[in-house]
Amino acid sequence: MRPETELHPVPLLREISTLLAKDFRLEWRQRAALGGLLLYVGSTVFVCFLSFSLRGGTPPPPAWNALLWVILLFAAINAVAKGFMQESPGQRLYYYTLVRPQAIILAKMLYNALLLAVVALLGLFLYTVFLGNPIQDAPLFVANLLLGAVGFATTLTLVSGIAAKAGGNSATLMAVLGFPLMVPMLLLLIKVSKNALDGLDWSVSQSAVLTLVALNMIVAATSYVLFPFLWRG
């Protein structure tokens, strides 16, 4: 039906896995970017540690929770921002001739989700080492953290594509475009993570977690539909 499908005899999954492998290889070759990101998280956590140690000891659980999510939010913006921006227009044109745009957005989302999951877990580890560990329900907390990483990745991937199109100060633009979109998701994430901190029963967080999953699916589906239009320019 669509001419594009005849142009690409390779199945979508193969394209996605190839692109994903390419992204990982690029990341590994330019380790400075990955190192920079990890150092960013590490130094932010350390700054928080220092500022709280002035007051003596660890922050109270609500502040602990809020601070963790703020750190992760900024780390996510920085991590995702470089995805589309480090590619040159020539490179984009080259990919355009090779693969479907759907494969590109799905691969990018998957890659960002994995990257952010690693960053989030490492961030949590450093955070608990420096600022104490008030978590009472660790499995729910980590699951929520991973859900958050996936959610950040799905929302920010298309936003980073949009910001990259604008050129110029696209990192600022990305924060401006991304933050309001992420507020509803963040509110749900912080709520579930507070429930996990207090060790509340899972049934309390159930509806929020389901909404988060549904939200992730809506955002991923919308990106899948809209990205080809963005790519065409």
């Binding site: 949009i162 979109l181 509803p184 963005l230 320019g233």
Partner: protein, 251 residues
């Protein structure tokens, strides 16, 4: 009860679709459209005057301030309608790009922002007199603020392009994405997040169906229609102005 609710939501969907379809027709209308504009003026004046004068049921907490129902709520309804119209224009733009559709989408968003600010202002004033604070961290209020931030970001995004076609396409994409990602949640989140001070929530008296007595309904529905028509009128005028400016720049 459940059948009434199903019929109610179906009516809501029909009303929304009709609103978007009719809104487009009215915004793009080339004739003066005297009939519906007279109706808009009459409805707005009548609803405002009657809204202030009509006797209202004395309910706890809200009391006389329940009259804000005739101003504050219609503004949000018309904001959502005109933003839906804008999303529809953006979808049409992506299917068949044209400067016309881009201008229409942009002007609808601007009308939506104006109505959203009016809604925030009326809500804030009401909160000052009822709750004693201009702003509280209530889920509803947060949602409204987020919606304003999103459309502010839309304007910033439009401002950061030089190429007009690029700007039109990318802002259409952001418009659709933002609406799909955030606006439904602004309706879902307040229902999920438990206790709230906002009328109609968790047992607070206010605008839910059983509190609206029949006289209030007779004022509320015309006010909603009046404000929605007003939004279309505003968009029509501003988009005509934008078209004229475009023509002027071309010549």
């Amino acid at each position: 009860m459940t059948t009434a609710r199903i019929i109610g939501s179906l009516l809501g969907v029909v009303f929304t679709v009709l609103g978007v379809w009719g809104g487009q027709r009215l915004i793009e209308q080339r004739t003066p459209g005297l009939v519906w504009k007279t109706l808009t003026v009459l409805l707005l004046i009548a609803a405002s005057a009657v809204g202030i004068l009509v006797p209202v049921p004395p309910l706890p907490i809200v009391n006389e301030s329940i009259r804000n129902l005739f101003f504050h709520v219609p503004m949000w309804f018309s904001m959502i309608t005109v933003l839906l119209v804008s999303v529809w224009y953006s979808i049409l733009y992506l299917r068949a790009p044209s400067t016309r559709l881009d201008v229409l989408a942009h002007e609808s968003v601007k009308t939506g922002i104006v109505l959203g600010l009016l809604g925030l202002a009326t809500g804030s004033m009401w909160a000052r007199f009822t709750w004693g604070a201009w702003w509280t961290p209530d889920p509803r209020l947060n949602g409204a603020a987020v919606a304003m931030l999103i459309y502010g970001a839309y304007l910033v995004l439009r401002g950061s392009f030089r190429d007009e076609q690029q700007r039109a396409r990318v802002s259409a994409i952001y418009n659709i994405f933002a609406f799909a990602a955030a606006i439904p949640l602004l309706f879902v989140l307040p229902r999920l997040s438990g206790p709230s001070l906002h009328p109609g929530q968790t047992g607070n008296p206010g605008f839910s169906q059983y509190d609206l007595d029949n006289t209030m309904r007779m004022v509320f529905y015309p006010a909603v229609i009046g404000w929605i028509l007003f939004a279309f009128w505003l968009t029509q005028v501003s988009s005509r102005f934008a078209f004229l400016k475009l023509q002027h720049d071309e010549n």
